[in-house]
């Protein structure tokens, strides 16, 4: 392991990545706020004397992003190497990771610059793995953007589009959400006649008033969280949706799309064929996807194969575009995971959206030591 670390340290150093100092003990809030409370079960938590929650660093991306924010720089290329700590059923709780993050600069989602950086990120990951002696690899790509484009093209109601977009990459949740949409029942059953009346008339003001009275009766604070109007708006949207159903045709298109898994080199052709046969227009998204796919495919050779799986994504709301995993040929566990996370910096407190992409390597899954 030590020699993999030494090799990678040199690798990142030679390419002029900066190596920010990341403390082992981190404030827990940024992790829990972004990745969700679910993470709490998988991190080692503790408290300081003032009661603030701390954790052993479970990963590097978030602390690297925070240190970038603190630096005030517009853009940065960062690398990291070190131990991370996660509670796991199997395997040691402490293990090595290394990786890089490219934060800021010209890489707006979907722009040519962002695609160039997408490709550079994958190339750097493969290069780093090759330096660690890993030659034969298999890379699987996924893309949130093309799925979002499909949802748009299907002309689904906003609420459903948001729901399915969120579940992308989590097949169990996706399936249960589809069930829900396919069988949306009456939303107004059992509700107060006055409310039902207001809803039937789609009268936003009347529904808002009704909710505001409920809130006042409960002494609920008006200045934090959901307002009466927010609640009323969603209620009306929901009432509208109660009459709508996902058509079997829409369902068929979604299922067919998510079944696609092809070599990256033929993905564009496959997507054109798909959109033609389903009579939907996702040409813009295919164009973006295709340009990147073409650049990536140039990196393929006899030792490196690329494929695209339409259903592959990460169900965290800060991932926005390309995701990828790299496997040693014949192994089920990825040695590398990466992707574009344009929403994360904003969540961590940046004033505006700062696009970013990166990958991390599971060093203990790399083939034998090179020493």
């Amino acid at each position: 392991m030590t020699s993999h670390l030494a090799v990678l340290k040199r690798f990142f150093g030679d390419r002029e990545f900066s190596l920010p100092q990341i403390a082992l003990l981190q404030p827990a809030d940024p992790f829990l706020d972004t990745a969700g409370e679910d993470l709490r079960r998988r991190v080692f938590m503790t408290r300081d004397l003032d009661g603030a929650s701390l954790c052993l660093r479970p990963e590097f991306t978030i602390p690297v992003c925070l240190s970038h924010l603190e630096s005030g720089r517009e853009q940065g290329r960062y690398a990291y190497l070190g131990n991370v700590f996660r509670q796991r059923r199997h395997g040691p709780a402490e293990f090595l990771q290394a990786g890089m993050e490219i934060i800021g600069g010209e890489q707006r989602a979907g722009s040519r610059e962002s695609l160039v950086k997408d490709v550079a990120c994958v190339v750097t990951a493969l290069d780093a793995l090759a330096h660690c002696g890993m030659k034969k690899t298999r890379v699987i790509f996924g893309d949130q953007a093309i799925f979002e484009a499909l949802l748009l093209a299907l002309e689904l109601p906003d609420a459903w589009r948001a729901r399915l977009g969120r579940a992308f990459g989590d097949s169990r949740k996706f399936e249960s959400d589809l069930q829900l949409i396919t069988s949306s029942g009456p939303a107004l059953e059992g509700s107060d006649p006055e409310l039902r009346n207001a809803l039937n008339n789609m009268d936003l003001q009347a529904v808002t008033d009704w909710v505001a009275i409920k809130m006042a009766n409960a002494n609920m604070p008006f200045d934090t969280g959901r307002s009466a109007e927010d609640i009323a708006e969603r209620m009306i949207a929901k009432a509208e949706l109660a009459a709508t159903q996902l058509s079997s045709e829409q369902r068929r298109i979604l299922d067919a799309f998510l079944d696609i898994e092809v070599p990256l080199a033929s993905a564009v052709e496959e997507l054109h064929e798909f959109s033609r046969s389903m009579a939907i227009d996702i040409d813009d998204a295919i164009g973006t996807f295709g340009w990147r796919a073409e650049q990536l495919t140039k990196q393929e050779d006899k030792d490196v194969t690329f494929s695209w799986r339409a259903s592959f994504g990460r169900p965290l709301d800060y991932y926005t575009g390309i995701v990828f995993e790299i496997f040693q040929s014949g192994s089920p566990e990825p040695v590398c995971g990466g992707g574009r996370y344009d929403h994360l910096m904003n969540m961590l407190g940046a004033d505006s959206e700062i696009p970013a992409i990166g990958f991390s390597l599971w060093i203990d899954r790399l083939p034998g030591d090179t020493k």
């Binding site: 409370e37 409920k214 609640i231």
Partner: protein, 234 residues
């Protein structure tokens, strides 16, 4: 080594536990000063009673320090990781009924199910600059249940009492709490989500899987379990 049965050290749970044991022919002899934490069974050797707090009982069972114990299923499932492999839920004792539930403000007319809550939670940060907050003392049950519903983006606010008051106090948006009749929930202008019942809990007689089970203890356990089971079903 004697077989150790842990029962709650106070309140209704203690009284009902003693009643059930007595009815099954296992009358507990309380310590003479009535303040001690150990008892014995009238006429039965080889059995000890340990009076512990309800949540300690779950932990001691899991660690194998007591053989049998009576406590709420909610506590065992909340306090013990990997509970199914560490405890056996041998008998439901038909008392101490309480549901662990997800409740939202009554005014949230648009939220009736966990799927609705998922929608609301997803939009929270963008709209209000923070995650949806859930007040609870059931950290683990909440995380498991929400995770099963594919909801990850929320924050838990630790609640050490009067959880049902958190939404009105503005310290949380929704709650996960225990209720037996739902009246406290309603009195606080909250409502339970249609699919928001995390656990229907009651007092259980639980068996530690890691305690020292010699032949004698195993025999005493079987006798005790069948005596109580017979009594419950009659």
């Amino acid at each position: 080594m004697n077989l150790i049965v842990a029962i709650p050290s106070k309140g209704r749970l203690k009284d009902r536990s003693l009643e059930i044991l007595a009815a099954a022919g296992y009358k507990v002899e309380l310590p003479e000063d009535n303040r001690g934490y150990q008892g014995s069974i009238n006429g039965k050797s080889g059995v000890e009673i340990a009076f512990l707090s309800a949540s300690e009982i779950a932990r001691e069972l899991a660690n194998g320090n007591v053989h049998l114990g009576i406590t709420g299923e909610d506590l065992a499932r909340e306090k013990i990781a990997d509970v199914e492999n560490r405890l056996g839920f041998a008998l439901q004792l038909e008392f101490g009924h309480a549901d662990v539930i997800v409740a939202v403000p009554d005014a949230w007319v648009d939220v009736e199910t966990m799927a609705d809550l998922d929608d609301v939670a997803a939009g929270y940060r963008a709209r209000y600059g923070r995650r949806l907050r859930i007040a609870t003392k059931y950290w683990n049950l909440t995380q498991e249940f929400f995770s099963d519903h594919g909801i990850a983006v929320y924050r838990i606010v630790e609640s050490l009492g009067a959880t049902e008051g958190a939404p009105a106090a503005g310290s949380a948006d929704v709650i996960v709490d225990i209720t037996s009749t739902g009246s406290t929930i309603r009195a606080n202008h909250l409502k339970i989500l249609k699919d928001g019942i995390i656990l229907r809990s009651q007092a259980n007689l639980m068996v530690s899987k890691s305690a020292a089970w010699d032949a004698e203890n195993t025999r005493i356990k079987s006798d005790l379990l069948s005596a109580i089971a017979k009594n419950l079903s009659s």
